[in-house]
Symmetry: C2
């Protein structure tokens, strides 16, 4: 009880973007028993109406200024392309001691934007990334259990105030997640490998098959393994282009390693080199069996 | 009723290999109400006992001769590497008019083996491939609903007797599947694209990540999308090596196309070429959303 009070010391919480991630934060905050005022901001008027109909927030705006004017805590959950403008608006209109966090899938790019737009508020900015999600987008996509049992990575820097970090850690715990801290560069390497690269591979596979002359038949005969393998290719294409571009360096590094290894397995298949194939397939199966928790949701 | 009698005109059915596929055929045959004798063959003595304990068959042997001596219908469901020897044994010991079918994941390689070993019985050999499966193997892996609502591809040739084809079509229908006929080369192209290539990509991805220095952390932070994407890398490594090698030509063709397209998207990411990235990701999402039935099982 007293812990809950501590975490929601914030009386005014603003969520910028009420799609899958922001909408799930909003639903989760209510589930946790928050009693302050929850204000949202979205891009379109239609979504303001929808947000209120769904009861996601107490009030909703299309201008950031109105949403953040009173905020103690601001959660930014907009697509990467909108982030610069949103941070600039927050800098112009939020109280000077408002704590600000984001949910973006790459962190060095976000830190760079924060340095540009929140230069005099860096102590109150806590970069974050919930490792949770689905392939759906928009206001109807969220749900209040999205973060249950999931991890959230925060990448605070030397500049980050302990009180701001505590507040954001508390928020995610209330939402059911556990919090890990690491530096932004490390986050970007890990996520490039586990999330961004798989998305690039899956999109490229489906596009490759769609271009084959047997297109129609190929998809008709695609069995369950294919459906699982390509589910992430149903994710929002624009969002993922932005994620991949925002995390270009780490993505290219791991993609190059992958391309090299794919060339090697290609030669092994051509040369009937069983040892090499067995090595790759066998090590992969062992690693997958060892580490592979069989969760169903996809995440960026 | 009378249809059931027609299909199970066979009084003696032999299943060679009682793993995921053969074991599911056995379970499905009993579920369908078969009243003849079902005989199995496996490789190891321990599996003979296990097969009888599980009640998969009425009798079980490690020598093919004993299993097929009386058979009207023989279903071969052994790993690709065992197929040549099994077909040779069948040729030596089965009644001359026994109908023979297989379940192998590539078909031109099977047809070549049949031409070598069943030369004077080609009329009674019906190459087949159920598009159903999971990433598990062995006698305990099968279940009697594995083929419900799934497709089975048969690749009969000019040589195939209509009566043999009818019998095998009837078998799969009794097992709950629908049957499609196509030629073996076409089957191999389609399956290389939808099944064999995704397995190569998934194994290579997991092996690539397992070799990175952040290995431990990478798998710890791999979220649901990654688990889905790599589930097929839990499939039996030896089986999949054999499948990929057996279908080498079609696999290399589609793998080369994929590698070419992956190089293209790599350049697009490096060059910040949004149009190309949007093209690939967007076309892929559209195709996946159009065709992508969200089945859960994986299949070879
Ligand atoms: N999807 C995932 O699995 C996942 C997982 C972890 C992190 N993330 C990250 O979380 C962030 C949000 O992703 P999402 O999946 O929640 O996206 P989403 O479902 O598309 O939602 C985006 C929301 O942002 C709003 N928005 C866009 N531009 C805006 C602007 N200029 N001002 C105010 N609101 C604006 C949109 O409003 P309208 O509806 O009016 O357009 C929408 O409500 C992204 O940075 C993403 O990388 C995503
Ligand atoms: N797995 C899939 O998803 C899938 C899908 C469609 C088609 N297929 C194809 O179906 C076939 C069987 O695959 P599976 O997944 O069922 O394999 P599995 O679970 O490993 O079962 C193989 C079975 O064959 C037996 N066997 C091996 N060598 C033998 C021999 N020389 N004589 C007699 N029995 C022998 C094994 O006996 P022991 O247990 O005693 O070793 C085992 O019972 C393969 O050709 C595969 O390509 C597989």
């Amino acid at each position: 009880m007293s812990e809950k009070k501590h975490i929601f010391n914030a009386k005014h919480v603003a969520i910028i973007g009420l799609g899958l991630i922001g909408g799930s934060v909003a639903r989760g905050i209510y589930r946790a028993g928050f009693r302050g005022e929850l204000v949202g901001a979205v891009e379109n008027e239609a979504d303001v109406k929808r947000a209120l109909t769904l009861g996601l927030v107490d009030a909703c705006h299309t201008d950031i200024a109105s949403a953040v004017g009173q905020a103690d805590l601001i959660v930014v959950a907009v697509p990467p392309a909108a982030l610069a403008e949103v941070l600039a608006q927050i800098a112009a209109h939020a109280p000077r001691d408002a704590i600000i966090t984001d949910t973006g899938s790459s962190k060095q790019s976000v830190v760079a934007l924060a340095q540009a737009h929140l230069a005099d508020r860096l102590a109150y900015f806590v970069p974050g990334h919930p490792i949770a999600g689905t392939e759906n987008q928009g206001l109807d996509a969220g749900f209040n259990t999205l973060f249950d049992g999931r991890r959230v990575i925060l990448t605070p820097s030397q500049d980050t105030a302990a009180s701001a970090l505590d507040c954001v850690v508390g928020l995610w715990k209330e939402l059911g997640a556990s919090v890990i801290e690491m530096d932004a560069a490390h986050h970007d390497d890990v996520l490039a490998a586990t999330s961004h690269l798989p998305h690039v591979l899956a999109y490229t596979l489906v596009d490759t098959l769609a271009a084959l002359s047997e297109r129609q038949e190929i998809f008709a005969f695609a069995a369950g393994g294919f459906a699982d393998f390509t589910r992430i290719a149903s994710s929002d294409a624009r969002l993922w282009r932005d994620i991949v571009v925002a995390n270009r360096g780490p993505v290219l590094d791991v993609l190059d390693t992958y391309i090299e290894r794919l060339a090697r397995i290609r030669s092994a298949i051509a040369d009937d080199d069983h040892d090499t194939i067995d090595g790759v397939f066998g090590r992969a199966k062992a690693a997958r069996d060892e580490y592979g928790a069989d969760r169903r949701e996809s995440a960026s």
